[in-house]
Amino acid sequence: MDDLATAPQGPTRRDVLKSVGAAFVLPFAISISPRSAEAAAPVQIGAFIRIDETNTVTLSIGSSEMGQGIMTGLAQLVAEQLQINWSQMRAEHAVGGAGAGNPYANPLFHAQITGGSTSMMGWYTPMRTAAATVRDMLIAGAARQTNTTGWRLGTAGTVTNGTLTLTFADVAATAASITGLPAPVLATTTKFVGQRMQRLDIPAKVNGSAIYGMDVQVPGMVFASVVHCPTLGGTVAATPAKPNRAGVLGVVNLDTAVAVIANNTWTAIKAARDLEGTITWLRPSDTTRMDSATLAATAQSLLTSDSATAFVAEAVGTPTMAGAVKTLDQTYRLPFLAHACMEVMNCTASVTADRCEIWAPTQGQEFIIPAAAAACGLTNDKVILHTTYLGGGFGRKIEVDYVVQAVRCSRQLGVPVKLIWSREQDFQNDKFRPSALIRVQAGLDASNNVTSVIYRNVSPSIKLQRGPSSVTNPEDTGAVAGAKGLPYSFTARRIEHVALPTDIPLGYWRSVGESYNTFAVESAMDELAKLANINPLTFRRDRLADPRAKAVLTAVETLSSWKNTPPTGYQRGVAFLKGFGSYIAMVAEVGKTTAGTIKVAKIYVAVDCGVVINPDQVEAQMQGGIAHGLAAAMWHQATFVAGVPQVRNFSNYPYLKLQSMPTVSIKLVASAAAPGGVGETSVPVVAPAVANAWAKLTNTRLRSLPFYPGTTMGGL
């Protein structure tokens, strides 16, 4: 999801690439907390670490905790450098920032966003460096405070000189003023790193005390819910009258929506629903670019058009099917998708003449702050952004739409406003994962080498839609992620993206480009293996040179007993991905239900994500990504009729249930490489692994997702 960085005001992909490997400068405007005059006040040392009188160490993070466990992972890095006890460790979201000098910006992006499975990639070295610097400051602080020498780190949050031992809390205030230390030496012990540390956020998440955006309570706040035009892109023609319902306080015209203000959430949602059908909207005059059937026809014509303006993302040699011994020419089809975060879009804002305070479940602090400031006519520094826990993000909560709505309501009303979308509004006003229609042409020579690949992906471009648009440079690296730079030994290749013109609002969906390209690539690889009459796992491995890529295939071969005959009535399919800085190979073991539909019994996954910080959390992301990817593969599609989104609730966008979850077996392949991402890695390989198994089982090749479109929950 590196393409995330092309969202408005974000750095470009090139900036991101430039920054990788750049020296990290510790953001040390040394600050002591305002209450430090009191003897027992917590002491802030640098931007990230605070030590209180009980010797608890609290880490402030810029990444958003949306379930991926980043709070815990980063805390493990800190605990390792400080050699404290895990019970002393806490973590929290830092107050958000934006622009230059924000210490909480992901060092990969120089922007405070959480996406692209990059949090651990970005912070692995900077966070350890920051913690080791604090460690050295604490040691130096002890020396200064006692006017003695020979201090070193002790255990359980202490420093010692052999005769005297002081707690971090004892020396924190002095330590915070230490400057001019040499670059720290990073501890390489593994007391925490690589261990199955319990997540810091789980106790609050099982006792109901965890605060999500929806749970924020601010004194004096009122409640709002919204109704958008049923046709995407419509605007309010005339502000409607306040609905006649007890508890309704007023309405706010938000241009693209009307907010109903009430003295509780339920009344706001009900009253917003009352307004549906009564508001006069200015609807877009032409909705053909927001109509599934029309878009499908346009995509089909662009798939084969010679005159289509294609972005050639990769060109190696001159691919041609002319001299091939065997050829493949198949088309793969993927739908638009919704995010369906369990927690609907919501935000609480309190705007006064000179200040805008926001509480939001957000992945996009970098974008929210300038957007909110602009909505209030304030400068960025007047926006105070509190990040809550996120009830799912998946890329949806990097957007600013719902935040700006809350800010505008509060500004207009002069009181704090908690704004919550109904589930129906959430589904209908998503930023949808682009559809994709992908043609793969490939040729094999007499030795079954893949000599030529011509790949054309026709899909709406997120980047073009949100600009800056440039027809002379229509590069959309996200649209070809998972197709460009494949590690397979294709002799000649041309990878093209043709932007499908659409006005459907587009967004980043967990695993972005890989979420569609990997289905085409890994389905096609299986079809080529069949043409070559070679075992599909071996076929892949023999066309990979990278030892890490080969190793995950070998690991999943062993884990899944690939070489052994599957149980009667079942077959296995494999898929592979190098992406998000990691390598993954997945095997699906698939049979039939009594109704004859797909039954996914077992999933085996081998992943090399570099240095593992917390094996339990890598496994959690594998499990979760499989559930997410499998539900999408089986059932999910967002369709549109003349600009009107057809999905309204979970009733026609089903998810797995406890009993339909396949058994998952995971092998973490040991690696000393720098950490890769795990939040998205497992999602893209699920659909092709299942389709490949199904093809083996039934001799029927499924090239279109979802496998069971519509409202029924076929299969599993």
Partner: protein
């Protein structure tokens, strides 16, 4: 404005509610400050709003507040005071179940209600048809086997 006395997590609480038809979910969240139960779908599909009423699981987004007067309401915030609820919470922690955690109050209350109905171990899962978009299902299934 009707006034109701509700027994939530063992304590009687009197609340003025603007509408007798208001669902329990919003009374708990907006008027009593129990934000553990979540709004997820509003149509009894996702299960995030589940609470326990007289030992039965209920979708609080569809239960009128007026219908639960005099009944014992337990939310996720009250599970630690319940033998079965505390066991479920401990199993969730031992198995490191939650990711984003938003659906877990519903999962935990429904699990506790299933236990009270005499279901144990693998019998619990069929009773809990909730949605977890993060996909914590393998760990929930594992946590349930010990209950």
């Amino acid at each position: 404005m009707p006034t109701y006395t509700l027994n939530v997590n063992g304590v009687n609480r009197t609340v003025d509610v603007p509408d007798a038809g208001m669902p329990l979910l919003w009374v708990l969240r907006d008027f009593l400050g129990f934000t553990g139960a979540k709004y997820g779908c509003g149509i009894e599909v996702c299960g995030a709003c589940t609470v326990i009423v007289d030992n039965q699981r209920e979708h609080s987004c569809k239960v009128d507040v007026s219908s639960v007067v005099g009944k014992k309401i337990v939310t996720v915030e009250g599970l630690s005071g319940d033998v079965d609820g505390a066991k479920a919470q401990a199993a969730w922690i031992a198995n490191q179940v939650p990711q984003c955690g938003f659906c877990q109050p519903g999962m935990l209350t429904a699990t506790t209600a299933a236990m009270k109905a005499g279901h144990h171990g693998k019998e619990i899962a069929p009773e809990v048809k909730h949605i977890c978009v993060c996909g914590t299902y393998p760990r929930i299934n594992k946590a349930m086997t010990g209950l």
